[in-house]
């Protein structure tokens, strides 16, 4: 196109159709959400559904831009905790999460990593929330791959800057967010600490 090919109205319309004006953070959110690099990390049963099954042809994760699964946490920006986190594995998961570079997100897939699942016993950490911040919890045992993809798209909306939090306003529940211990609004709980000490003594005795 040369100067003078289009003039006036036509030129205005031509430019409108091809140029987007937006805020920088919106564009940044859009770019980050649509090009996630998940970490290949599977713990237990949920790992067969994701990350293995959602990258296969039927539940294609590639159409959301998250095809490039990276094995090294340094190159990944999303970790999907798929499976039960045992007490032996928890420090390792935390170390992996720490090795990831900012900005990073964590999806806790399935009941076991969200809250300990059906395994309320000595060997499973009752929810990965206990030791790392989680952005999205996906219920199910194991959740269907479609459910994981729904959670993934919800996370994408959160990254883009408009998280699905309207329900807190609809139900007058603003201020009821829970913070993990050590988080922004957590408070120390001496009763819980004392109970833990007595339990420890019982076992050691």
């Amino acid at each position: 196109m040369l100067r003078g090919t289009l003039e006036g109205e036509e030129l205005e319309r031509y430019v409108e159709e091809r140029v987007v004006m937006t805020r920088f953070d919106k564009m940044l959110g859009w770019a980050r959400a649509n090009s996630m690099f998940p970490l290949t990390f599977g713990l237990a049963c949920c790992a067969i559904e994701a990350p293995i099954s959602i990258v296969t042809a039927r539940y294609d994760l590639a159409r959301f831009g998250a095809e490039a699964l990276r094995a090294s946490p340094r190159q990944a920006d999303m970790i999907i905790l798929s499976g039960r986190v045992s007490i032996k594995m928890a420090p390792i998961v935390r170390r992996l999460y720490d090795q990831m570079l900012e900005p990073k997100w964590a999806i806790s897939m399935g009941a076991c990593s969200s809250s300990g699942g059906m395994f309320a016993n000595y060997a499973v950490v009752q929810g990965a929330d206990k030791f790392m911040p989680i952005d999205m919890h996906i219920p199910g045992c194991p959740p269907r791959p479609e459910a994981v993809l729904y959670g993934f798209t919800k996370l994408q909306r959160k990254i883009k800057g408009n998280p699905d939090q309207g329900w807190r306003q609809r139900y007058n529940a603003v201020g009821s967010e829970e913070w993990a211990r050590g988080g922004v609004a957590s408070k120390p709980n001496p009763a819980a600490a004392e109970a833990y000490e007595t339990a420890r003594e019982l076992i050691h005795a």
Partner: protein
């Protein structure tokens, strides 16, 4: 499986070579079992594996159970299999709980059945039963510095109570 008379025959033959080794036999739900004195467990297992006509050369599983409050408290089970005649035989060694601070002991059969290596470590990990002569008796499934023997009956299951609205204030 060797049927009930067959089981008594086996007991009789073991008695000839190792008197006092077999304490009891049981034939419950079509599964024969020999209850053996734990100090002579290696002799009995060797006899069952090597004596002509026996040939129980495959150890399917080695596991333990805690029969609290019955005494003796621990039972170490050896599931033996004769692959030629397709017969199973269970050998049980019952161990008492020694004085507080000590751990029950039994000889390790890794020399006879190398498959027992991981399985004895697992029994040690969960019950605290020490296998004398095991090349590497350390915890296998729990973290190395874990304290306690989880699958004993007096160890609590653990976990935490589910928080509902009525009790969530108690749990931070």
């Amino acid at each position: 499986m060797p049927d009930a008379p067959g089981l008594e025959l086996i007991r009789g033959e073991i008695e000839q070579d190792h008197p006092g080794a077999v304490l009891d036999t049981s034939f419950d739900r079509d599964q024969p079992a020999l209850v053996v004195d734990p100090d002579q467990i290696l002799a009995v297992l060797t006899w069952l594996r090597d004596a002509p006509g026996q040939g129980y050369g495959f150890l399917s599983s080695l596991h333990a159970a805690d029969y609290l409050p019955a005494t003796p408290r621990f039972g170490v089970h050896y599931e033996l299999l004769n692959r030629d005649r397709v017969e199973r035989l269970r050998v049980k060694a019952m161990l008492d709980d020694p004085a507080a601070g000590d751990l029950p002991e039994i000889d390790s059969c890794v020399g006879l059945f190398p498959t027992a290596e991981f399985q004895e470590r697992e029994v040690f990990d969960f019950f605290g039963i020490v296998f004398k002569g095991h090349p590497n008796l350390t915890r296998i499934l729990l973290p190395e510095d874990y304290v306690g023997w989880p699958q004993r009956r007096d160890f609590p299951v653990g976990g935490e109570p589910v928080t509902f609205t009525f009790n969530e204030r108690n749990y931070g």
